[in-house]
Symmetry: C2
Subunit: 104 residues, 2 copies
DNA sequence: AGAATCTACAACCATTAGGTTGTAGGTAAT
DNA sequence: ATTACCTACAACCTAATGGTTGTAGATTCT
């Protein structure tokens, strides 16, 4: 998932597909690379669950998947929580030191 | 930055360095890979600004950098905002359709 | 001083990623 | 029916990743 987000082109595609639905060709025209390359990027995003495709006649419509992005967000938030836990522990230590100078 | 987060070992290192400070050897012992490999992972994390090193005698102390993680979080939040904007626009369209049946 | 420890860095290797071109199969338009 | 368009997929190339080992520079311990 983070790997899928680690490429600028893919993040841009994600933004576009979150703003509105596009088929692969429409997306591909906006980037200075081949259709196949964009197709691969979309495949990576799809593999990560950040995007999903839906057939509509001869075209394939790509739309962004917020659920997965929220998941990524939650993961990062957890990491921050770890940090916060550390801060709290430092707070405890300070409180303990205040509370007599030695460990109980 | 996302690339740095895209590797499981690096995310684990990040957690450990957010929980508390460790030198590189201490970290390295916890993973089934060579010291040099861990050293490289730390370098990647450092390059992404997710971690910073501080010399202390012969050892190098690694500590997590929350600032950068918040930055990552903010980026994801922005993407969600894009999505939210789309929802809002759909809302407007529905309101317009309600408001007379044709575009003004 | 000498041994042990922690780190930095180079050289190398296998695999993956990001890109290309080319071919082929459906669907839509004329 | 034939042409144009959208997509899927394979083959190939180059550069970057994640890993290895080996060598060397500082710093600490005995």
């Amino acid at each position: 998932m983070f790997h899928a987000l680690a490429d600028a082109t893919r993040r841009d595609i994600l933004v576009r597909t979150l703003e509105g639905e596009h088929n692969v060709s429409t997306l591909a025209r906006r980037y200075p690379m081949s259709f196949a390359a964009v197709q691969k990027h979309v495949a990576v995003l799809e593999g990560a669950g950040l995007v999903s495709k839906q057939r509509k006649g001869r075209e394939q419509i790509v739309s962004g998947n917020v659920e997965t992005m929220r998941k990524a967000n939650r993961l990062l938030a957890q990491l921050e929580t770890v940090w916060q836990g550390r801060i709290d522990r430092i707070g405890e230590v300070l409180a303990d030191e205040h509370n007599g100078g030695k460990n109980p």
